[in-house]
Symmetry: C2
Subunit: 663 residues, 2 copies
């Protein structure tokens, strides 16, 4: 805290009259970065004001973090001491920004002079004050500025004597205002006390459709697990549906000790394949590939083929070991010992997971452990992979992630890390603040209109959106929610459309999803019966009832609609039937406007009146507009706010309208 | 910004797993103090969480700013990682507080052990982990703690072997949890990164009724201005109405040069008395007393008499000079010169105020100027005055006020400074943040139910309340609003009751107020006709139609009602007639509950249905309760939320109900 003495000194030595506060965006007083994508404009607002009524100037300062010179961008007064400016982040990596402001003495004087002249006052003495201000600026200036200011001072003095009206006009020139401000007393500038960081990611960080699959299930015979080479066919299938990211369940050797059998059995059969998250065996660990899948070259081949089809392959990072992982022998010190001398396995008392050994992040050898764990991401990045889904990050220390992610992104600023944390809200948000590019959400458990509206308003309309990028999954290998279990195909269709339109980033775990696999292992559980986590599954992707065509259509709509490439314009529109939900997204220039209506009831036809929030779509009070259903190609003309909708889930549970204003 | 290298070091050297963020209250990341009064409890909340699922402990740390040792107070988990604690501020001056948290390794283990035992697991090995934890704590401990921990470790080991169930119970003891936490590894504690300041003021800073008057008008003959001695009678009158603070318009010598005449005339008569805000004459300046009022001794006598009647005298601080102020001759360097060599007078172009010279706070001699200005407050503080109303603080630099107030309050922590700034919202809030104890508000211009509800919700239910204490004035010598001009006596009565019940602190400018003086100098102006600013006014305080009795009654109600001693419990209750407004305040323990209903229409009887927000008054859904009108002594029994009211402004424009739950 300042002592009164230092305060006197500071207050008197240079009197910075301008206050800058209330800066947005700003995460936790600048402790964490905001997130943007390459090409975005960062819009910054602040309260900038001083005592009295003088005119002020404000500038937005920004630079790439590794550069030292600031660039400047103007800030303009919006209203009531609130100012706004913006800058573009054109490159990957980190930027910082801050704000400066100062009292515009010359501009204040010039405006006052005009007021006085307008009121018919004698301005001869007042005009001389302007001469003084120009002379003071002249004394500070160099070169051409100095000459110009000297000339202007003389000219103003002459005009004040002979031709006051012309003097007033002369004084107002933008050039003089520019000149005096450029040669002001910089020691009196107020600089905002913090420099605020920005992380700039590739566009895929904001927009993309993910498809998760188990490569070993790319087979027509469960006894013969699929290889990377077998995945080629599945690759074309996934690409044909319009997905952007193909995320593979872990591809590493799987332990034998304590291996789980089918349906999580503790007594596996000899040919049971085990969970790919039980990482590590005699064949190697996190940097090795399961021999049944193929070689590193096969994986790279898959990656090449995928890229040719517009698909990016994402890998899984799960920092845990099977008891057979080489680390367990070679680096026993990275694990905690139990009092009986055995390695401490994972637990959630009273449950025990003897097949998984967690690392001891607090061990005395944490430095080596942390470096090794980082080297796993670096290794796969060196192999050309850029997208990673990170398993259970909330069970590792926050400081570990902050260090790992910032370090990896220094060399690979285009890396995308998806945080698979399903835990308490503050922990999920903290992981996002620390650097995870995207995050799983509670979407799978938000099924009613009220729940969806509240949750998505929080994620898209509050400061949370500055650091937390949702990636919506209606299902995962761990999550088959009750709504899907009980609602059958219409439920899958509805949840798919919600995920793909509420979220610019979303994903499904397939082919279980499009084949609406909905059998739980037991009533009340969200685990799949015959889960792929523990066995090879053969999928009939040619099933004529598959959701494949709907998915293909929706992904095509997403790609063609700029409105659906981001989440920040999401707005909900009231419907008088709570089984229906309506929401819109628009492109930045409002040239593309999407209005989605979904029937959340998978069993019954539902109808109701939507109250379109016309302002959110820049529509007039009684304006007519066409709503064009991009799913069915049907077109309707709507008028004003209140309009009727009816949706039969057995046919199609949603409209995805493009809105065209008429006239 | 941290480089990755320093981050590795920090992350690894000590691993502080607990995160502390989202601390409330906190003003601008701790840049400014929150405000409290002596005896208040400061309730602090924070998000406190770690990775994983371990149990945590959190403590609130606090101390007087000038002391170095922290005191501790427990924090408890409310829900979802949000913790709360509180501490009392028992003394005037400054306090600071912060938060610390840590992972409770022993507590986590003990809880897990209980879960395992309940599930029937063999806990013999798990129990030994507890022995290890006790031993580690023992190795850190000294004295009795060391012995106790050593004993506990041995005892646990024995029980684990022979009597596991008893071991589980033994492990749960609060004493062991206390012992292990007291002897934890303190290097792993997380300390919140900021220490947050509190300013503690006297209770009068929160609750008080102010009465402003011009002492020279305490006379029965306008030709013979009143003296401090003449004020004795008026003193008894003000005290009899139940006021707490008597605020005197400036009492200093008044300049002759450019003196204003009656009704702000530029051509004064020889006997015109001038504006008391044109401070300074041949008789002296800001530390002198106008000879026509009396001597310093007379003033001190007035102060003594006032205190005997329960009234505290407040003085006016207006940092500006008449052209005749001694400073103008002696310290010409404290003023700005115009290019023609004259002193720069006050302006609001095109308006000119040649009778007022502002100080040049940016002059090269600002250091001496600032010290001198501070010495004025100190001088009057030395004379025993503690309450000051500060004129137009928004036209002086913010840094000046921050320095002056913090410096004065170091020696006089019981000083109360009321900021008379009527300017843009952010400037008003900034002055409050910088240290002003109380602030004038926009109350005078908030006349409709919607305006009042919005404005008072902002001031009492948002973080603004942490630093901004409103003091509500229905009128001042500068403000006679249109509502009062046109609404006559009923309008004055309604605005009075609003001020006195919406605001724990309020004031009126009298006797103009209670005699409902409502003539403006011209239509559209808020200036009084025959304003006391420029002439002596004789007031008939015995006028039988005076609002004196209503004021007396309301001030008595205020004093007797704990609910009205603060603003934070203010809640509005909807009424189906917008001419009526209803709101409540409650005491901390809900033993005193006040519900006010005001008819805002000064001309017509209005009736409507109030929807009492029952929860805010801790009333049940269909509960009966008595509402006792403290103004008329009438009593009604109400049931549930919806109840009927009717108010005739020609009789009384408001109910002030005390609410008594029945049964």
């Amino acid at each position: 805290m300042d002592t009164p003495a230092t305060l006197v000194d500071r207050a008197l030595s240079t009197l910075r009259r301008v206050v800058i506060e209330g800066v947005t965006p700003e995460v936790d007083a600048g402790r964490f970065a905001i997130k943007r994508c390459v090409g975005d404009r960062v819009r910054v607002q602040a309260d900038v004001f001083a005592d009295g009524h003088d005119q002020l100037c404000a500038r937005l300062l920004f630079r790439r973090a590794e550069e030292s010179d600031w660039q400047e961008s103007p800030m303009l007064l919006i209203e009531n001491d609130r100012w706004e400016g913006e800058f573009e982040v054109g490159e990957l990596g980190r930027y910082v920004y801050t704000i400066m402001g100062w009292v515009d003495a010359y501009g204040t004087w010039a405006a006052d002079l005009a007021k006085r002249a307008k009121a018919g006052a004698d301005i001869s003495v007042d005009a001389l004050r302007g001469v003084e201000l120009l002379q003071v600026a002249r004394d500070r200036a160099k070169g051409a500025d100095r000459q110009e200011l000297a000339y202007a001072a003389e000219r103003l003095r002459e005009l004040a004597r002979g031709n006051p009206n012309v003097a007033v006009d002369f004084a107002q020139s933008d050039e003089l205002k520019e000149l005096t401000n450029r040669n002001r007393d910089f020691t009196q500038d107020t600089r905002y006390e913090r420099e605020l960081p920005v992380v700039v990611d590739p566009p895929r960080a904001r927009f993309g459709a993910w498809y998760e699959m188990f490569p070993r299930s790319c087979t027509t015979d469960a006894k013969r697990p699929g290889t990377f080479r077998d995945c080629a066919t599945r690759l074309a299938y996934v690409a044909s549906m319009g997905f952007d990211v193909l995320y593979l369940a872990p591809i590493h050797p799987i332990g034998l000790t304590e291996r789980k059998g089918k349906n999580n059995s503790l007594t596996p059969a000899a040919d049971d394949v085990g969970s790919p998250w039980a990482i590590g065996g005699t064949e190697g660990g996190h940097k090795s590939i399961h021999p049944q899948l193929g070689t590193l070259e096969d994986l790279k081949g898959l990656q090449r083929q995928a890229r040719d089809l517009g698909l990016e392959v994402a890998l899984d990072i799960a920092y845990q070991c099977s008891p057979d992982h080489p680390y367990v022998k070679e680096h026993r010190e990275w694990f905690r010992e139990r009092p009986d001398g055995t390695v401490q396995y994972a637990e959630n008392p009273p449950k025990k997971y003897q097949d998984i050994y967690p690392f001891d992040f607090e061990s005395k050898h944490a430095a080596e452990l942390w470096e090794e764990l980082k080297s796993i991401v670096v290794y796969w990045a060196e192999q050309g992979f850029r997208i990673f889904r990170v398993d259970n990050p909330h069970t590792k220390p926050f400081a570990f992630w902050e260090w790992l992610i910032s370090d990896v992104k220094r060399d690979y600023p285009d890396v995308i890390l998806l945080s698979e944390a399903f835990t308490r809200p503050r922990v999920m948000y903290q992981l996002a603040k620390l650097g995870f590019t995207q995050s799983y959400t509670y979407f799978a458990w938000k099924n009613t209109s009220a729940e969806l509206t509240e949750y998505f308003t929080e994620m898209t309309q509050t400061p949370v959106r500055e650091f937390f990028r949702p990636n919506l999954w209606p299902n995962t290998p761990d999550i088959l929610n009750e709504y899907l279990q009980k609602g059958g195909r219409p439920a899958f269709a509805a949840r798919f459309i919600l995920a793909a339109t509420l979220g610019a980033s979303y994903g499904i775990y397939g082919p279980a999803f499009e084949l609406y696999e909905n059998r739980p292992i037991e009533a009340g559980s969200e685990e799949y019966l015959n889960s792929e986590k523990y066995e090879v599954r053969v999928w009939d992707t040619n099933n004529p009832n598959s959701l494949k065509d709907l998915i293909t259509r929706v992904n095509a709509i997403r790609k063609a609609s700029a409105a659906l490439h981001g989440d920040w314009t999401l707005r909900f529109h009231p419907v008088d039937n709570e089984q229906l939900i309506a929401y819109s997204k628009v492109s930045e220039d409002f040239s593309d406007m999407i209005l989605v209506v979904v029937n959340l009831d998978p069993r019954n036809r539902q109808s109701g009146w939507v109250s379109v929030a016309l302002k959110d779509l820049k529509l007039g009070e009684n304006q007519a507009y066409q709503v064009h259903d991009l799913l069915t190609d049907a077109r309707y003309v709507w008028h004003g706010s209140i309009n009727f909708v009816q949706l039969d889930p057995s046919i199609l549970p949603a409209h995805i309208f493009r809105v065209h204003p008429i006239g």
